[in-house]
Symmetry: D2
Subunit: 307 residues, 4 copies
């Protein structure tokens, strides 16, 4: 099967106060507000070509509302619609949403709401479409300014089943697994067309759990700069600057003001994976070093704190 | 149409002396010799999962023999076989080659030999498949050591036609074009599944011309380190350390001992492109800055020196 | 003799239009205007603790007016006053200048006006003096923002004589020399207390010539960022991003709007030199690689274009 | 008073097993063995010009034996001899030591043995003295390879007294203080000629305590690379990759196999300090952020674990 999903397109995340959230997401993280509509705000990074990649929704708790994966072409949405039917997965067709056309919406075994869509407005990034400079000049010096959303890590009460669903029905492929004593995957890092370490990762935990969503950061220096900004803004750092053994990515885990964990994920040593290559295996003995390479063990909050 | 081509898989390049070539490609560039077979040598970068990505062939001139693009899945080879038939493009089926299975081989309008294949041995990169460290410990400090092959730039007497062929028949998509006064693309940067700035680029020039092939380098510091190594080894630098406006990539153009141009292409500010987004346009007036962002004009050798 | 000079404290440079100059020096280079007084403007970098480090003076030609070297302690000014007397070098005592106390002013053999001073207002850098963050938050993203002035390269009709003067009278010490066939230094890189590659360098050329003055930049990534900013502002780049063999420094030569050459000098691989260590020697054969390590020869403008 | 001390020249550190120590210091840290003499080994970094900068001595406990500060000129040793006399500080004259001439040896109030010397063999760094490349080609890829020793942090039962001694008798100057409620310095970062954030720092603790000694690392990427190497060699990381608020330095604390703490100190955002500028002040409330900028509090081991 060819690649029919391009990448993680958007996440909708709950926040307790939309004003405070916008202050954080725009002034500290450096996202740009596309529009505020009722209790929702649509945002995007400076290099995002699509209409938006983050939706914040005011609510009485934090956590994930839904995640959208964008297909490579319009007909790929129909392809997955058929596939869901074939696997008898209930789904809704959502004819349109903010600046977006048709999506199919369904629940994966871990309880998370996923959407698959192609049609969304493409206003382009913050550079001209003709003869652009390499970056926009009006960025804030003291904001993190990631160029693009990168991936999402979710928790599942039955991760083996959720992983299998994502692989079989949604055609994700694995770059890395943590396997249990029986050799079964209990955590997985899953990729689509970009062949990067992950678009989606799944670890054990409660249903509907959002462990973190991540933005790309390109260099070790940028990671340090981001960490500086977090301190200057009293942002709670959960872990890092550090490195993962799994994905090789360097980065920082931190929390938005409501406890949603975000990562700046530095791909500077991350890899491209080849279809057909065997996934990398980590065991319960080595997974500590896999997740937190420098600490060589799980940081306490990793399995216990998420939204 | 979904993505059926994963990436540029290998290039076969002619060298005048295989011993000298191996000295350069292994000791300076830091590729690893897989095997020398007759007048050919098969090499790969340390993070290459597939059997090889560079083939050197002793010959009486420099230049490109062929380029191989690997598909996402086995059946994608059949798909392109049908497509070539449909477009009445002559092709050969090559049942097998060194550590590789079936490929279809054909000539594109610019005269270059392309192969499309899926089946190749996948011995993995230079790290263990279980609980690996992020990089192999035995790399040479004074070699460039790029992790992977990245892209190829070729010349075409009728670039508009060659671009159209690559887009229609091979299903490349464009990130950027240089257009002439009539708005026709005379140069193109074309991507496949990875959605990176390019897997293949085409500029005007003579048929079968190899402008350069490129390896990924991840940071500005690594680019400087690579340039240092070039001087220490009397490698001729053609351009750089510099930056392209087109692709935003930072890098260096340099020559192997036989005049084949190679690039270390630093993706640290390069982008990911979204299917459906309009290609970036450069004109004949702005293309100088597009190709060489800091010089803001074409370096003399750019259009005149290649193999 | 101990170290009595701390570093290059300020340069006064002529510009043809002070308004245009301030636009360039503040918006592109990212210096901060301390005050404009008549036809002069006093500026400083964000991490400068002293009152100012650059003085721009509106004039009908470009070039250097004077350079000030700050001593380690007040009595060191008297020490050099005695030394000048002893060597029968004419000097003036300048009792005060803008935000500065006493200086001694004299002409070195190459015709340049030097000042030695200690007493200057020390308002501190742009961070609080108590519990500061590592950098100020209100910097412009699209300015170069060097933290501090670094060194100055001047030309001398009789460089051997000027070098000897600076060593004997001003107690500079050499890190590196270019020597002629007779082994005489015809160019020198000279340091003071910081023991960095240079505070002052001297090459052959016309009297009073200012080859360039330089600001520190800390990483290869920052050098690339600086080069990007130069293109975005139509700043003429003379050379770079590149590296010097001499000093090992990485950097860029560029021109202010009036032809004064400036360098962003990236010390990331520069060294600290030990008193008593023999200077590094370059010859007329190797000096091309010494000055421009990647080009391995003098760029044409190096010996011909300066103010 | 001018600068009469150039920098921290060497530290002598106790190790429990010299073979194991040499394996760590040469293969992991990347120092070079100058010579092993009896129960001592003399080592240096690749860019060290002097004969050695680290002495390892086999002993039955870890910790500091002595630290040597090198003067700017020979007569500065006599100067400090007189000064010690004047302050009635007992001292020994050590006429010679390994590859070194005369030193004066004395005990500072915190019980540490200091030496002041000028005369030491200067074989130069690992590059030729004529027309050198910027770095030596034969470094190990998987060693940390710092270019030079940087500073030392020691503990004192009466830090205020020890700080005062270092300032008055040894003519160190302060860049930063932590002050107690009465405004008295209880910790200090002290510099000499280089005007860098510190050559010596003093914090409260037991007498003769060695908190850490540090080597310079130039970029955020190099810090990450160093941390990778520590994991690959099962080196215990105490803290980092992180950043200090005090000194602004980025770095890693880690332990040699015997518990001596070492730092790779990344000066990429560190500053140069101007004589006469007021030291930066931190209070007992802000010192947590001062020492560990990202954690914003003292890591538990900081005050309790040292040799």
């Amino acid at each position: 099967m060819p690649f029919r999903i391009s990448r993680l397109g958007y996440v909708e995340v709950k926040v307790l106060d939309l004003d405070d959230a916008l202050d954080f997401y725009t002034n500290v993280l450096g996202l740009h507000l596309v529009e505020r509509v009722g209790n929702k705000a649509y945002l995007k990074t400076w290099d995002e070509q699509l209409a938006y990649s983050v939706i914040l929704t005011e609510s009485d708790s934090a956590g994930l509302v839904r995640a959208g994966f964008r297909t490579v072409d319009p007909e790929d949405v129909d392809y997955f619609e058929k596939k869901l039917k074939q696997y008898e997965v209930p789904y809704e067709v959502i004819p349109e949403d903010y600046k977006r056309g048709k999506a199919i919406r369904f629940t994966i075994p871990s309880g998370h709401t996923f959407e698959i869509y192609y049609d969304i407005e493409i206003p382009g990034n913050f550079l001209p479409k003709e003869s652009p400079d390499p970056w926009p000049r009006n960025l804030k010096y003291d904001a993190i300014n990631p160029p693009k959303i990168d991936h999402m890590l979710i928790t599942a009460p039955d991760p083996t089943k959720t992983i299998k669903f994502c692989e079989e029905v949604l055609e994700f492929r694995a770059t890395e697994y943590i396997v249990n004593g029986e050799g079964q995957p209990v955590a997985a890092w899953l990729y689509q067309a970009r062949q990067q370490p992950h678009d989606l990762a799944i670890i054990p935990g409660r249903e509907k759990g959002l462990h973190h969503f991540a933005f790309h950061i390109s260099s070790a220096q940028d990671i340090y700069h981001a960490a500086d900004i977090m301190v200057m803004n009293d942002v709670k750092i959960d872990w890092g600057p550090g490195r993962h053994g799994i994905t090789r990515g360097a980065g920082i885990y931190f929390f938005d003001p409501f406890g949603n964990r975000i990562e700046t994920f530095g791909g500077y040593t991350a890899y491209l994976f080849d279809p057909g290559a065997k996934p990398i295996i980590w065991t319960e003995e080595t997974m500590g070093r896999g997740v937190f390479y420098y600490e060589r063990k799980l940081v306490e909050t990793f399995l216990t704190v998420y939204t």
